[in-house]
Amino acid sequence: MSAFVERLRAEGEKRYHDRHRYHVLMHEGRLSRGQLQQWVLNRYYYQTRIPIKDALIVSKSEDPAFRRLWLHRIRDHDGDAEGEGGLAMWLRLADGVGLDREEVASCRSVLPGVRTACDSYVELVRTRGLLEAVASSLTEFFAPDIMSKRVAAWEKHYPWVDPAMLAYFRTRVTRARKDAEEAVAYVERHATTPELQDQCVAALIRKTEILWALLDSVYAACVSPKLAPKARLRHDRKEDKTMLLYPEKGLVLNATAADIAKLCTGENTVDGIIEKLSKKYSKDAATVQREVIGLLTSFAERGLILE
């Protein structure tokens, strides 16, 4: 692997959304039925954007060989006939988790944050050159096993989902690897200067941020965090700070963190917490969302909240 590809791999891997809290919860079997449904419903909107961005990529190329190579991605998603292809398979998955297929297909219930994230991906591809657009498609390259992991996790933890409905994930196991290899080869061949390589890395990072933002929106809407039985808040008179205590340990919280912890009652969604805090501190919701989800993730990794 060339140093450049290694750099792409390293930058992408550490930001890939398989590390997002929502995916961790999904793969550990800890999402409720409703939480899993919301992921399927919202992620469908992302799926609908993929053939559109791939068509944009095709339109940027002057090379018939590249266009032929890339066109199969559109066919993979849209199928050769009605009811075939990745999008149709995703709607079967929607059936499998008990969603209303028509509602999912209409995309009318998609969260605004998810819509913004997915649209910005299409916009990224629309406004950049071919090389960066291809580089932004590389994300599956970093976690070739995410799909097989997902199939195994769903079969184990969500037995109420008909395993036949997991067809989409299964087909992606081999397809994703092949797609990624083709795209990596293209980027490696064409990113011939340090500047071009930097642009590719930047485009890829932007894409990982988009995938992350999608999950942030779903997490914020679908999780109502509650302090775990082992965690207890205490006001510390010595330093006039709030502490979050748990067996043998304690965290000293700053003012924002203390507000967030106090709102972890199980009655507020993460979105609700974000709204309250952005009002209180007159800060924009996007900044607060990052802070809140970042803090909740660090709590969750210590087992201090139930999600």
Partner: protein
Amino acid sequence: MRPYTLIAELSYRCPLRCSYCSNPVDWAKHRDELDTATWLRVFREAEELGVVQLNLTGGEPLVRDDLEELVAGARALDLYTNLITSGIPLERARLENLRAAGLDNVQVSVQDVEEKNSDRIAGTKSFTHKLEVARWVKALGMPLTLNIVLHRGNLGRVEQMIALAEELAADRLELANTQYLGWALVNRQALLPTREQLEAARVIAARAKKRLKGRMEVLFVTPDYYAEYPKTCMDGWGRRFLLVSPDGLALPCHAAHTLPGLHFDNVRNQPLAEIWTTSKGFNAFRGEGWMQEPCASCDRRTVDLGGCRCQAYHLTGDAAATDPACKLAPTHGLIEAARGESRAPKTVALHYRSAKPVARP
């Protein structure tokens, strides 16, 4: 400087006789336990001093009839209260009362993953009941810490220990390698593992820690006999921990009063704050002034703070010496010799904790 944790050793009495017990070998001499009112005053004074965590331990804290009252008193002070227990003797009704009194966490120890071995180390039939207690803790909606002391006889079963903790839905698993002080030093030859045993267990624990992140906290305490540098014992002498022994001595750690020539004050006679800040015993090994070479000029002196004073004394006879666990210590050969012994296994009889002290090896 404030202490964050008060370790309240409510009693040295215990129905178990573990051969690695960290209580002093002459525990039976300390018969005069503090009464309820004094403990409650100690909790109050500790809280005023900055303490936020209270560990109720022993011996076995359950032998105290006033445990419910002590827990309620601690809770009234908003202390995070952790009961460190063998689970013997405990009935479900009493556990419910303790929960109602405000107990935050229960730490139950087992000595192994199966009855015969666990009971052999404990010196009494106890394993089955311990598991029952652990299940009650979770059934009552309380957090559970499972504590297992590791040694050469059980290190090979770390995988099963993790499985047991998962089955019990423990919130925290402490895989604590024996620290060779007190009864464990008496029994060192029978307990000290080989490096290979330890390394294999460490790898298994590290994998579980990663896998269980966010669900169960897995703690693997390495024995300093196999570390390059000494542990930062108690996070430093008189820095974060304050311990009160059953008969009222305020100490920086559970073995500090075994060091000769140090004076420790009793909470019966003096306010805790005064002892913490001014007593000779607490100040003896604070800072760096007491350090000898190679510690005094070592870059790591601010990291491990000189290591364990009790280990230094019990192995070298000098409490201010560099902890022999440190590879830079002139007395490190003592540790290397003990490691060497671990490689030449022979059957050594265990000295069970008893009221009659035994000689050190």
